[in-house]
Every structure is written in structure tokens, then in C-alpha cells.
């Protein structure tokens, strides 16, 4: 055992905080430090580069280098006519573009759809940027006024607008309508169900549990099927609900049940002290939930919520089963056109649709991450 030093220590002048040493941030340095810092990592890096090249290069070739950019029909995209290996057939997409975006919406009325898209984008963009003020007003417009405006513009029949049956809607229009309605409708429902499930009133809790378990227990396809074909049998004779509306209601109820469990997880994570402090201040149940608990709980479950929204956005493709032509449905209808039948038509179509789905899903995911970082920075 070493001997204890006899002299004590008393500091003289305090050390002033200094700046940290400058780090040479270079790309080469980072690569060497992260990708090749051990034999194992080096091997994995090389394998990764090979795999990436094996996947990325053919894709790049197909979509851009070997692609055909101009043409009037299938002959432009056949390798015999072009005299070379043919990649994506973009003229096919160009020719079918209107159908993919609007479905069979009458061409003369498509300005209404464009107007709805423009209004939606104009209202959504400022809502997403944190610095823009008047958020409450913005939210009221986007979630309250916009759906009514869109409904009137798209359906018509009033204000001198010709009526366009929902049967004629298709493509990206249907995808966006179902996604918007699904997301905006199911979140409030999910929150109410989650609160109901945690309620102390046995009737409320029982009903919430039954609702959630029922809608989670059946596949979405069954829900869509039931809503479209079976529901009219249960309704009194002359009460007809529009086909698309039936689908929207089914999607909202289904998604609401899933979101309820996601929100409930967030509610459970809030410490009991928060509830007690809110109660001790005299806040009633709804004020406590709305001002104290839900703002915290929803922030916690942003990953889960966005996950559900992205899944909902992609699940809209299931409406093909009830003869509603969303983006993918419209695409498959386009494939049937003999005018454009080539070996590459399918790949081109799915690549195009895949890119649209990816861009929207990725945008949602990135925005969620941005929101989380901003909220956690506090």
C-alpha cells in the first residue's frame, strides 16, 4: 500500500474555461476513422460498397441511362425498334399521367382538383414551418375549413359546379383524399378511445375496449369489403351512402383503433406526478388532459403516430378490392392498355408509383424526426 502524501492542497487562481482543441474535420479523416478503423470494419465497408454498386448501378441504368424519353406508343419502347437495351419507358407515364393523377375526373373540371391541391399545399406549408405565426388560425383552416372546401369543389353539385361522382375519381387524387381523411379523422378518434380506455367509468372503458379490439381484430380489406358491400344491406331502404364515403368511414374507424393504442402508450408513460399536480391546481379532467397530459404524451409517441400514418398512406392501395382506383389501381388499369404493352411497362409503372410513395413516406418520416429534434432541444 502506498503511503498517503502528507502535504495538503489549496488552489490559488481558478482555471479559466478554455476552448477545446481544434479538430481536423476532413472527409479522409472521417472515412479512415469510421469505415476502415479495423479489419472487420474494412471488410464490411468493402462488402457494403460492392452490394450498393450491385443494386444501385442497374437501377440507375434502367431509370436514366437506358431509358426512353420520347415516343407515341409501344414501339418506341421496344428494344428492336430502339436498336439497344431499353430501360424505363417514360413516354408511357407521360401518356397516362392525367389518369394517374386524376383518374376519370372529367378533363374540363380538372381545374377544381388542381385548385384543391393548391389550397392544400398553401395551407399545409406554413403549418409545417415552426417560425410561421398564427398556427391556431392556420390549423383551423387546414383541418376545419379545407375539408369542406375540398368536398364542395371535388364533388360539386352546388354553386354552379357540375357534379362529379366519386366513381370517376381515381389515381393520386383518391390516394390523397383517403390518406388525408384517414389521418385527420383517426387521430382525434384515437385520442378519445385512448382516454376512454383509461377511464374509471366502467361503461366508457368497456365500450372503448370492445371498439378497439373489434377493429383491430379484422383485416382492413374485410373492413373495406364490409363497408362497401354489406353495409347497404343493413341500412334502411332508401338511405344511400356514397361508396368513397363508406371507405373513408371504414378507414377512419380502423385506423382510430390502432392509434388509440399508440396514444395510450404515451399516456401511460406520463408520470403520476403530472396528473396530481394538474389536479392539485384545480384543473378539471378535460383541461388537465388538453393542457398538461396530451401535449406531453403525443410528443412522446410521435414515432408511433408517424409510423401509423405512413402505413395508412400505403394501405390506401387496398381500396382496389372494392373497385376504387387509387394510384396503384389506376396504374394497373393503365397496364392493360395494349397500346403500351412492352416488357418494361410494368417495371416503369411500379418504379414511378414506388417513387411517389417513397417520397411522401420519407417526407413524413423526416418531418417527424425534425419535429422530435426541435421538441427535445428544449
Amino acid at each position: 500500500m502506498s503511503s498517503i502524501p502528507s502535504a495538503g492542497f489549496v488552489r490559488g487562481a481558478m482555471i479559466v474555461p478554455a476552448a477545446p482543441p481544434a479538430v481536423q474535420a476532413s472527409v479522409r479523416g472521417w472515412i479512415r476513422g469510421h469505415l476502415f478503423n479495423s479489419i472487420g470494419n474494412a471488410i464490411l465497408t468493402v462488402l457494403g460498397i460492392i452490394a450498393l454498386a450491385a443494386l444501385a448501378w442497374p437501377t440507375f441504368r434502367f431509370l436514366l441511362i437506358d431509358a426512353v424519353w420520347r415516343g407515341a406508343d409501344r414501339s418506341a419502347c421496344l428494344s428492336e425498334t430502339a436498336g439497344r437495351e431499353v430501360g424505363a419507358c417514360w413516354p408511357f407515364i407521360a401518356a397516362k399521367f392525367d389518369q394517374l393523377m386524376y383518374g376519370f375526373y372529367p378533363a374540363s373540371q380538372r381545374w377544381r382538383v388542381d385548385l384543391v391541391y393548391a389550397c392544400g399545399a398553401l395551407l399545409l406549408a406554413p403549418l409545417l414551418v415552426p417560425r410561421v405565426p398564427y398556427k391556431t388560425l392556420n390549423a383551423v383552416f387546414f383541418f376545419g375549413v379545407f375539408p369542406l372546401l375540398a368536398g364542395v369543389l371535388l364533388v360539386g353539385g352546388v354553386l354552379g359546379l357540375t357534379e362529379v361522382e366519386t366513381r370517376l375519381w381515381g389515381g393520386l387524387l383518391v390516394t390523397l383524399v383517403i390518406s388525408y381523411a384517414g389521418i385527420v379523422g383517426s387521430l382525434p378518434l384515437g385520442i378519445l378511445l385512448a382516454l376512454g380506455r383509461r377511464s374509471e367509468l366502467p361503461v366508457v372503458r368497456g365500450l372503448s375496449v370492445v371498439f378497439i379490439e373489434f377493429w383491430r381484430g379484422v383485416p382492413l380489406i374485410t373492413v373495406l369489403f364490409f363497408a362497401t358491400y354489406m353495409l347497404p344491406l343493413f341500412l334502411p331502404g332508401n338511405w344511400k351512402i356514397d361508396g368513397l364515403l363508406r371507405v373513408l368511414i371504414g378507414v377512419i374507424l380502423f385506423s382510430g383503433a390502432y392509434l388509440a393504442e399508440v396514444v395510450r402508450a404515451g399516456l401511460q408513460a406520463i408520470p403520476r406526478g403530472q396528473f396530481e399536480a394538474a389536479r392539485a391546481l384545480g384543473l378539471g379532467y378535460w383541461r388537465m388532459m388538453g393542457l398538461v397530459i396530451l401535449p406531453q404524451a403525443l410528443r412522446l409517441v410521435i414515432p408511433g403516430l408517424v409510423n401509423s400514418f405512413i402505413a395508412l398512406f400505403k394501405d390506401t392501395t387496398l381500396v382496389l378490392i372494392v373497385a376504387i382506383f387509387d394510384l396503384l389501381g389506376q396504374l394497373r388499369a393503365a397496364f392493360a392498355d395494349p397500346n403500351w404493352a412492352t416488357p418494361v411497362t410494368l417495371f416503369t409503372g411500379f418504379a414511378f408509383a414506388g417513387m411517389i410513395y417513397f417520397v411522401v413516406s420519407f417526407a413524413m418520416s423526416r418531418y417527424a424526426m425534425f419535429t422530435e429534434q426541435r421538441l427535445n432541444a428544449r
Binding site: P271, G273, Q274, E276, A277, A278, R279, A280, L281, G282, L283, G284, R287, L291, V292, P295, Q296, R299, R378
Partner: protein, 267 residues
């Protein structure tokens, strides 16, 4: 001066406490309170009268029922037998009465329980705006006044996570004060603090006491009790063991349990 008719009625032998209060009003009247957690008898026939302007410090070993009793007063806990009358209003299952009481009774928790998603100022303004329905300007003025009272007016726009423990607890006190309560309950307010920060919170509480606030404090801070308490209570096994004025309580404990407890904490 208080006469015999207003001596607190309780099961333990009356220590003959002479209570000096600002007004002869009963702020809290606890009559034969019994509470069970399942089969566990948590509060056993507790009776106590707290006069307005009194500062009562409740101490005792863990699990003795101190916090449980405190939380009964604003109905964060319920009870199976007995009556509890706060500020003239009897607490029952009636939600309206409960909310009425909670507006007049402020509570400070051991773990602060500030709302992390709101700034310090918003924390303090929340209840006055949404419960007392005060206009925002007025609520903000009251909030800033109370933040100055607890000596952290410059932290108004910070978030709770950016403050030290002592500062957070003082914000919690300010938040409770913004509702202008008649009674303040403190549930071990300094137990979760670093020793250096205990002083600043206790100073705040002493200042409150000198302003005449009716306070019920569950705490082991005997220095504070000596300085500010009008009565000391020892609770153990769900019942009141002894009540006395602080000096008599510390220098001349009567009950065996009190003697044991004091021996253990005053080392």
C-alpha cells in the same frame, strides 16, 4: 388568545398547546379519518384541527401516514371512514366541491412536478387563466409577482429542465401561490434537493410563513420547524403520536416513539 373550547380534538393526550393564530377560524377539520389501502390500515382514526395562520410540521418515520394524510386534504387520496372539512367545505365524492377545495389549497410536491413542456411563466399562468378564468395580462402580472416573491423573476422564460432543483421547487411554490390559496400543503419539499439548495427553498417557506399563510408541511427539516412551526406533530403507524409546540417537542418529548424518532434523526 385561544381558549380551551378551541383546543384541537385528537386521540393522543393533549399536550396543552397554546396556539397563537391570526384569526380564530378552523382552516382544516379532520374528524376520525380512517383509510385502508386494501387490507392495510394506512390512517387510523386521525383527528386534527388546523387553525388559520398556523404552520404545522408533520414528521415521523417512513410509511407512517404523513404524506397520505396531507394528500387527503386536497382529495388526491380518498378515505373510507371519517370526515374532512376544509375551509368550511366538507370533502365528499362531490367533484364540484373537490375542485372548489383544490382552488383554495395549494400543494408543493417532493419531485416538483412542473410541466416540462411549458416555460416557467406559462407553468405559473396555467391555472389562473384556465381555472380562475383570469385574463392573461392579469395572470401574467400575478405570475411575475410570485416569481419575484420566490426570488427568481429572471427565469420566467426558461423551461423547467434548464433550472436547478432548488429553482424548480421555488417555481413550484410560485405556481401554487398564483392561485392565491388560503392553505398551502408541502409534501417533503426539500427531500429531493441537493443540500446546498435546501436553504433557498426553506427561506422561501419561512417568508411565506411570516406572511401569515396557513401551512401544513411534511418534512424532516427540524431547523425549519424550530424557526417557523406553530405546532409539531409526530405520526407513526397511521396515527398521531404527539403534538406539541416545537421547543417543547424537541426538548421534552413525552411519548416513547417521539423520543426514539428524535434520537434517530438528531445526530
Amino acid at each position: 388568545m385561544v381558549d380551551d373550547a378551541q383546543q384541537p380534538s385528537h386521540a393522543a393526550p393533549d399536550a396543552g398547546a397554546d396556539i397563537r393564530t391570526t384569526r380564530n377560524e378552523v382552516a382544516i377539520d379532520i374528524i376520525g379519518l380512517n383509510k385502508w389501502y386494501g387490507a392495510f390500515h394506512a390512517l387510523r382514526d386521525v383527528s386534527l384541527q388546523v387553525m388559520r395562520g398556523e404552520r404545522i410540521v408533520i414528521c415521523g418515520p417512513s410509511g407512517g401516514g404523513k404524506s397520505t394524510l396531507l394528500r387527503c386534504i386536497n382529495r388526491l387520496e380518498n378515505w373510507q371512514q371519517g370526515r374532512l372539512i376544509v375551509d368550511g367545505v366538507e370533502l365528499t365524492d362531490d367533484l364540484k366541491k373537490i375542485d372548489e377545495i383544490r382552488r383554495e389549497v395549494g400543494m408543493v410536491f417532493q419531485h416538483f412536478n412542473l410541466f416540462p413542456h411549458l416555460t416557467v411563466l406559462e407553468n405559473c399562468m396555467l391555472a389562473p387563466v384556465w381555472v380562475r378564468r383570469q385574463p392573461r395580462k392579469e395572470a401574467e402580472a400575478i405570475a411575475r409577482h410570485n416569481l419575484a416573491r420566490v426570488r427568481i423573476p429572471e427565469q420566467a422564460d426558461k423551461y423547467p429542465a434548464q433550472l436547478s432543483g432548488g429553482q424548480q421547487q421555488r417555481v413550484a411554490i410560485a405556481r401554487a401561490l398564483c392561485m392565491q390559496p388560503k392553505i398551502m400543503l408541502f409534501d417533503e419539499p426539500t427531500s429531493a434537493l441537493d443540500p446546498e439548495m435546501v436553504r433557498e427553498v426553506l427561506d422561501t417557506m419561512v417568508a411565506l410563513a411570516l406572511d401569515g399563510m396557513t401551512m401544513l408541511v411534511v418534512s424532516h427539516e427540524m431547523g425549519f420547524a424550530r424557526q417557523a412551526a406553530t405546532r409539531m406533530i409526530l405520526m407513526d403507524a397511521g396515527q398521531i403520536i404527539e403534538i406539541n409546540q416545537p421547543e417543547a417537542f424537541f426538548s421534552n418529548p413525552q411519548h416513547e416513539r417521539t423520543k426514539l424518532f428524535l434520537r434517530q434523526i438528531l445526530h
